[in-house]
Amino acid sequence: AQSVAQPEDQVNVAEGNPLTVKCTYSVSGNPYLFWYVQYPNRGLQFLLKYITGDNLVKGSYGFEAEFNKSQTSFHLKKPSALVSDSALYFCAVRDGVNYQLIWGAGTKLIIKP
């Protein structure tokens, strides 16, 4: 079955430290992978995507993600966290059959001053 897993419900990071939010996936065919962020009582905002090419993808607000085919992972990273990065982060993969997005359960990122 095609799926996305975000193994951490919550990640706590001190401001200025690097952050990683984990995502693993299972999908048939070539993976199309996405990260979105959701602020309280708001819709989702696109951060970045991997379709093909360089395994390190750069996105909005200084975020980047590393695609690892052998580990079927697509972890979100940022070198130096800001308090304003505190939000809910969702990983998604495009279903290889019906082309719809399958979403992880989300990871709450808390950046402490």
């Binding site: 199309y32 979105y36 009582n41 819709g43 696109f46 998604a92 082309y99 719809q100 997005l101 359960a105």
Partner: protein, 114 residues
């Protein structure tokens, strides 16, 4: 340009009632998708429409239906509401139907069923 707009933003219904949620996509976008987001979970795909044709349907009962109008706006209808239908309903628009690019989300319609 205006982003994706959804209405109403909040609504309260009782079990058995019917609800209609509305979405206006970004100008020029022909694809509209609907998602249900239950508190503490990721979005679940309900429908996608492109050029007024249904392009995908998620694992939801027939009580859920949708349509897209000639101006590409869309409605999601839910009949015979259940308590479990309480959720944030998100609409997303995009320029293509293949979900390889960015989806632009509205802020959602929060439905509470009592």
């Amino acid at each position: 340009d205006a982003g994706v707009t959804q209405s109403p933003t909040h609504l309260i219904k009782t079990r058995g009632q019917h609800v209609t949620l509305r979405c206006s996509p970004i100008s020029g976008h022909k694809s509209v998708s609907w998602y249900q987001q239950v508190l503490g979970q990721g979005p679940q795909f309900i429908f996608q429409y492109y050029e007024k044709e249904e392009r995908g349907r998620g694992n939801f009962p027939d009580r859920f239906s949708a349509r897209q109008f000639p101006n590409y706006s869309s409605e999601l209808n839910v009949n015979a509401l259940l308590l479990g239908d309480s959720a944030l309903y998100l609409c997303a628009s995009s320029s293509r139907d293949t979900n390889t690019g960015e989806l632009f989300f509205g802020e959602g319609s929060r439905l509470t069923v009592l």
